[in-house]
């Protein structure tokens, strides 16, 4: 009865489907990056630079040596976490602009656990307890901070875009107060707003001796896989995606839409919190005011460029990291200011967000599936 196509196992089919979808999904973002680089090249040329040398410098700076690769991975770690945070919220139909604040709050909490906990407990904690504790509390802080606008959205209809922006201000000013006041590094030589160094036992070790790239990068990749699994393989993920795609149908299907919204924001905030936590525990070993400025906003660009898919987010985060990291060498080689990288990143975002431009230039037909950014105000 069955023909040969029917007999193909579901696994084979889903792999084929996955490959096709991936290719489709990559189309516009890749072309957006390419177009942005072209336009960026024109800008460089207009500014009197040599775009080829500039891009060569950029490439060398990002991938040209083991150290360059290590630094790109260092940049990529918080980008992956924060990008996942924003992408996860998008999947649930929510626009989390508050990654910036959630990230800062996670970092504060991780630093506090990192330097103060052994003192409070009067014991030296082993690393295998202290590191997970610092990471866990940092993540939790981010989750709580995001759950507030989530609850406001679910139970009062207050729009999450407005409320996450407001929560950013609160988080950043609160952080400033803490780092200048109760949590300030008491070292008499210290003149800036920062915490003391965290205990050795709370530090995530580097992957290789002599390089800065750390286990946080591996954790980021693992978490990306975990997010993918959660979204597409679990009933919770099904609920989150359903609420994101069609809240009316979700309600019809018996899903608790309000609870799901709060939970989606909390998980999104948890991921953003991890971004801050990793920077404190693996890299800076303290929270210095302003270290994370802009990560939360770059994360929006990364999530959009990655088409809100975890794999896409990892690739987009690596690209942004490479550009940030390679920019210094580019400036060194060609005297073109690193700010050009911001211009190119802005262009990428522009082309991804207004994808009609890219579709028009390259004659790509529009697809049905669109990224749901956010629903109507108060909706």
């Amino acid at each position: 009865m069955q023909n040969s196509e029917e007999r193909t196992s579901p696994q084979t089919k889903s792999i084929l489907r996955f490959m096709r979808l991936t290719l489709n999904a990559l189309g516009v973002p890749l072309l957006a990056v390419l177009t942005a680089m072209l336009v960026g090249g024109v800008v460089i040329a207009l500014a009197g630079g040599d775009p080829f040398r500039a891009y060569l410098g950029l490439f060398q700076g990002a991938f040209g040596s083991p150290k360059a690769l290590s630094e790109t991975a260092v940049w990529a770690s918080p980008y992956i976490f924060a990008g996942l945070a924003v992408a996860f919220a998008f999947k649930g139909g929510l626009f989390n602009i508050g990654a910036e604040g959630q990230l800062a709050f996670g970092a504060v909490m991780a630093a506090l656990i990192g330097y103060a906990l052994p003192g409070w407990l009067h014991i030296d904690l082993p690393a295998f307890i202290h590191i997970p504790l610092a990471i866990g509390f940092g993540a939790l802080a981010g989750a709580l901070w995001a759950a507030i606008p989530g609850a406001l959205k679910a139970y009062t209809g207050g729009h999450e875009v407005i409320n996450t922006i407001m929560m950013n201000y609160i988080a950043l000013n609160l952080t400033s107060f803490l780092l200048n006041g109760p949590m300030r590094d008491p070292n008499p030589l210290n003149v800036v707003a920062r915490t003391p160094l965290i205990a050795e036992s709370a530090r995530i070790p580097p992957l290789f001796e002599g390089f800065r790239v750390h286990w946080g990068f591996v954790l980021a990749l693992l978490v990306a896989g975990l997010v993918w699994w959660l979204l597409w393989k679990t009933t919770l993920g099904f609920e989150i995606r359903t609420v994101g795609a069609n809240p009316d149908a979700a309600k019809y299907a018996g899903i608790n839409v309000k609870r799901t919204i709060v939970l989606t924001m909390a998980i999104s905030g948890l991921l953003a919190g991890l971004a801050g936590t990793i920077e404190v525990t693996a890299l800076n070993h303290r929270h210095e005011l302003g270290f994370s400025i802009g990560y939360g906003f770059d994360a929006i660009a990364i999530a959009l460029l990655g088409k809100t898919h975890p794999l896409g987010v990892v690739l987009a985060a690596l690209l942004f990291a490479a550009m940030r990291n390679g920019a210094t060498r580019m400036q060194f080689l060609t005297q073109i200011p690193v700010d050009i990288i911001s211009v190119i990143q802005a262009l990428i975002l522009l082309f991804v967000a207004a994808d009609a431009i890219i579709r028009y230039i390259y004659r790509i037909r529009a697809r049905d599936e669109r990224v749901v950014l956010t629903r109507g105000w108060g909706g």
Binding site: K233, T234, A245, D248, A250, K251, Y252, D368
Partner: protein
């Protein structure tokens, strides 16, 4: 007779679908030419080409023998073509005159800040048109306060105001009561007598036979034929549309009602403004019977169904389902108790359109074994379920993994029907289960509903189509302004009587329920 509009050899290709395949169509002066066809047959595509919303791949549209290039609705209005869409394009807070001049404003003192709207001249012209074609439209009335039938007339006046000589009416009777439809037909005749030519798009066979001068039937992008009403009948037309014999009459045995599955007692529902939209409704449905709720859309049926299915909170009253008090229960509890719901708006409530067919088939059971085990989705069980349902319910889809948005309306509805009826249910609530569907799908869904009844399921059917109500129901309740104004045995009532009740006429012998206290929007 002169041919006022001719479309020759129109071909239009959409990705994967040949929507119009060398279609020829002509319209004579002063005739009513009905376009009949299933959804997706290509009639809307053809009309959109004539109206300038789509550009044909090949072919030519001529008006009064002159080939014309139509790039936008503006060109077609210029050519004297007017279209009344199924969903009115009116602004409720504007007056009739303001709506009519919208986009073509008559202005005085143009030099001063763009000028002043010349309401008087417009109103005068509207009165003239209204008088000329016996339309009876008051230019000063606010559109939002007019009944649907009159709003439709405003749309017609709007096209006449722009000197339309060719009218396209897209499913005009879908929103009307039988009486309002009669009025519309009278107006259509009035218009054609004065030389206006009308293209009438519909899927209701009875109407076509009653009013059209000629009938063109389309199927799968092609014109099957053009016939005169005298030369044909309902069966022949249906067969032309579907391409095979269709059973129009629903075959069903006498109902064998069992004990009550759902008891509703004094249910009250308020809308977001606190106005009572359903006031003090009581009824019961027994297993093995179909209770039809007839009524013009917007008389509280939607709110009633939302309340029964847990999507809307109630302001008072009680619901007993399977012996349990389920007042205020969540949709999930009701689903688990054995309620199936085919929602009114399938794309908004019934489906997640970007989802694969397989996912939509477990939309409300995804968390239950075998589909969800300890919070993990089971792709194998979901796949097996989808393949079985696609087969059992004859869902036409290339694979269970295409996005549901790619399916035709009929097949989308079948996905919902398959999902809801494949569970063990005690009560089926079907709200407009066949709206916008083709004859073949309607036939199929009607059979499924009767089958459920015969299996002992209680069925609550809501439909604005009187034919559907009378064909399926064992008992009929008529809703008017949030009240059930009559409940009768289906066999003992005529269409005319039902139509009268739907329009607010008081049923003889059945005392009309008055609102307990005067509330705005109810009995007002």
């Amino acid at each position: 007779m002169t041919i006022v509009l001719e479309a020759k050899n129109i071909t239009k290709q959409f990705p994967g679908v040949l929507a119009n395949d060398q279609v020829d169509f002509d319209l004579r002066q002063g005739e009513i030419h009905a376009m009949l066809g299933e959804n997706g047959a290509g009639k809307t595509t053809l009309m959109n080409i004539i109206y300038g919303l789509y550009k044909p791949d090949s072919g030519q549209v001529s008006v009064r023998g002159e080939p014309i290039e139509i790039h936008s609705p503006k060109d077609s209005i210029q050519a004297g073509i007017g279209m009344v869409h199924q969903h009115f394009m009116l602004i409720p807070v504007f007056s009739v005159a303001e709506n009519i001049m919208l986009g073509d404003e008559t202005v005085r003192y143009r030099w001063a800040l763009g000028g002043k709207l010349d309401q008087k001249t417009v109103a005068k012209r509207v009165r003239e048109l209204s008088h000329q074609y016996s339309l009876d439209v008051d230019p000063t009335a606010l559109v939002g306060q007019l009944p649907v039938g009159i709003q439709q007339r405003v749309e017609i006046v709007k096209t006449l105001y722009r000197n339309a000589q060719i009218l396209i009416l897209d499913e005009p009777t879908a929103v009307l009561t039988p009486q309002e439809a009669e009025d519309l037909f009278r107006i259509m005749h009035e218009l054609t007598e004065k030389g206006v030519s009308i293209i009438f798009i519909t899927h209701k066979l009875k109407e076509v036979l009653a009013i059209a001068d000629r009938i063109t039937v389309m199927r799968a992008g092609k014109v099957v034929g053009t016939v005169k009403p005298k030369e044909t009948n309902e069966h022949k037309l249906a067969a032309m549309m579907v391409g095979r014999e269709v059973i129009l009459q629903v075959e069903k045995k006498a109902a064998k009602p069992q004990e009550a599955a759902l008891k509703v007692d004094g249910l009250k529902i308020r809308d977001f403004r606190g106005l009572e939209v359903v006031g003090d409704i009581s009824f019961e449905i027994r297993g093995g019977e179909i209770l039809g709720i007839a009524g013009v859309q917007g008389n509280g049926q939607t709110e009633l169904i939302e309340a029964l299915t847990g999507l809307r909170s109630v302001a008072g009253g009680k619901m007993l389902f399977a012996g349990k008090d389920v007042t205020g229960c969540s949709p999930r509890t009701l689903t688990e108790t054995g309620m199936a719901h085919i929602p009114e708006d399938r794309q908004r409530h019934g489906l997640v359109l970007p989802y694969a067919v397989a996912d939509n088939m477990v939309l409300n059971t995804y968390y239950l074994p075998p589909f969800g085990v300890r919070g993990i989705l089971q792709p194998k069980a979901i796949d097996a379920n989808a393949r079985k349902l696609v087969q059992d319910f004859d869902v036409r889809t290339p694979s269970p993994y295409v996005p549901t948005s790619k399916l035709s309306g009929g097949n989308q509805q079948k996905v919902i029907v398959a999902r809801e009826l494949s569970r063990a249910v005690k009560l089926l609530i079907a709200n407009q289960p066949t709206r916008g569907l083709d004859v073949g799908s309607i036939e199929y869904i009607h059979k499924e509903i009767v089958l459920m009844r015969d299996l002992g399921v209680a069925v609550l059917l809501v439909s604005a189509e009187l034919d559907e109500i009378t064909a399926l129901s064992d008992r009929i309740a008529v809703m008017y302004r949030g009240q059930i104004v009559a409940t009768v045995e289906a066999k003992k009532v005529t269409r005319e009587q039902l139509g009268l009740w739907m329009a607010g006429g008081h049923p003889e012998g059945v005392p009309s329920r008055r609102c307990p206290e005067p509330v705005e929007g109810c009995c007002a």
